[in-house]
Amino acid sequence: MSVITIERKVLEKNDAIAGRNRERLGQHRVFALNLLSSPGAGKTSLLERTLDELGGKLRVAVIEGDVQTDLDARRIARHGAPVVQIVTHGACHLEAQLVADALDQFDLAAVDCLVIENVGNLVCPAAFDLGEAFKVVVSSTAEGDDKPLKYPAMFQRAAALLINKMDLLPYVDFDVAAVRRNALTINPALEVFETSCRTGEGIPAWCGWIQDRVARLRG
């Protein structure tokens, strides 16, 4: 019997490409976010609200990741932001190479902030670095308050949590305090925002966080 020592990361190829994406975004001082949630938590609606709120303040570009269709990219384009749609044809997450290809289609010198809307899925996208500065996870009041406990990997890696659909709170059994507590137990550094795309609640605070981060990056 003999043993060959290997000690290599399974995702080393993806990580290397993500590193190059990060370098490229850094050269243009583009602040990049990887937006993650289960399907239907409201990622695209939040993005639409975010684009409207940041209009005239920041130049925001968007990469849309979906299993099928360019419906989301069309929604984003209506708000005047440069957008590239990635269709994964069944794959459950975005990989760094797909983002690298999408970056070719932007004028990065004219972008302050890039938001990558990942495929709706709380499991697989957590493992794939795309080259973003931060991951942001969206969890809605309609989904139930046990998400941080059920999907700890996602919450552990995120810098911010948006508790979305706050306007539905009177109609659902959702314990905001429990979600905050559970999420912060997994990741004490998490910034938590309570948002509603219907009422606009929390959108200025969330956009303020983005502006603050962009200002830090761009000095």
Binding site: M1, S2, V3, I4, T5, I6, E7, R8, K9, V10, L11, K13, A91, C92, H93, V123, C124, A126, A127, F128, P152, A153, M154, Q156, R157
Partner: protein, 87 residues
Amino acid sequence: MHELGLAEGILDIVREHVPAGRESEVTSIEVRVGTFAGVDPESLAFCFAAITADTPLRAARLAIERRAGRELQVVAVELGEAAGGVA
């Protein structure tokens, strides 16, 4: 359900390290999977068995070691007697 892609990643790495012609001697592949790696170990082992079923690596099994953290690493391969007694 990205374990299939990860199993293919493991297979690629193993093939790069095992000398040509000795793949059938591989009995075990030690893989470290962090609890926050976002990977289901059973699904990973199943996918690996499925993609190696018709290859010289069909006897190789994943020995999955759970760790704290986000780690997902191929640590080592163990070679024993080749299936069918070929040295």
